[in-house]
Subunit: 199 residues, 2 copies
Amino acid sequence: MSHLVTPTELRVLDATKTCCERWGIAKVTIDDIAAEAGVSRATLYRMFPGGKDVLFDALRVHELEDFFTRLSAHIHDTTDLEELLVRTVVYATVELRSDDHLALMLASEPGDTLGNLTVQGLPRIIRMASLFIAGKVEPYLDRANAQRLVDLLARLVISYFLAPSDHVDLGDERSARTFITTHILPTFVPPAVQPASTH
Amino acid sequence: MSHLVTPTELRVLDATKTCCERWGIAKVTIDDIAAEAGVSRATLYRMFPGGKDVLFDALRVHELEDFFTRLSAHIHDTTDLEELLVRTVVYATVELRSDDHLALMLASEPGDTLGNLTVQGLPRIIRMASLFIAGKVEPYLDRANAQRLVDLLARLVISYFLAPSDHVDLGDERSARTFITTHILPTFVPPAVQPASTH
DNA sequence: GACACTAAGACGATTTCCGTCTCACCGTCA
DNA sequence: TGACGGTGAGACGGAAATCGTCTTAGTGTC
């Protein structure tokens, strides 16, 4: 799932992570990261042309990929569509809320939490979640329906953090299952019963 | 014990503390603190002429005074010299090690702990500890002996954090008592038995 | 030796930060 | 009412940092 990342790039990303935890994203400088990674500033700019923005974007993507890799491992044995959706939503809800660093990376201030994310971070995580879930549910639905479902679920998960009181408790598996089976699944029509492709 | 601090000054000190915890002392700016305290920069400079250094000094003193106030309350019922020393050392050791913010204020980097204090912070805490302990043990000893004892004990407590393996476990009351009664007290001669003064 | 990659650091441009200053505002008290 | 002390907002010039690019020299590989 994860695209190619060289060891040095990984070291830089780890250093960025460390520096963010120490000083907050607003106070980190390129030199801090380079020093922490034991890398010269020139090397850092060679790896991430565009400077801080590109570097932070890369870190965000890297962190999200990590998250989706863990999520993938968590649902790899699921074949039923409903089960897949329920476990995805529950895992994403619980893990996202407990992943402090992910919150840090998506926020702009160290004090921010997933509960008061800036508007810049939200579309990104929704897009990433969509890409991930799309790959998992596509065999069960036609492309248009899958996209609708994906958007709906991703926004459902994310909006959970923004106004928890307005929504069902997605972290509870039973309520998540009830919500999905009664409100989401009935609106979609699977094009074929068997998920396994022929070729 | 604590000298006069106006409510606004206290608010500024609290804001400084908050900002330090958020960004680390190396990254905090005057404007950050002023904004956090809801105070203009002009007001801040009027209260603490000299800028950041004076402000941080004031905060350090304030934090240490807080600590010594708590310590004072902890040993207020002690009249025996040995008991006084033991409880002071044990309390100081345990509390100093668990007081993250004090460590933060004495360190120059947020990652620093009392275990790797910079050399600037150490003399300050030793001096403050000396002043405090001196006032407590002076009735029991003549002035010269008291000063020797104070220096020795203060350095003992502090050095505990610098190389724990080389020293007795001062956080354990029994070992602290043993160490004090066998190694420290015998070298001092009390000038008078009764601590109560006549006038 | 050619080559790719790197650390170290100089450089100018830009931005941030500092400390001081002015000015308007707002309560208090005579 | 008017003087007065304290405050917030913000302009200002200088100092310091940060940025992004660049050169140079060193290192390991083929």
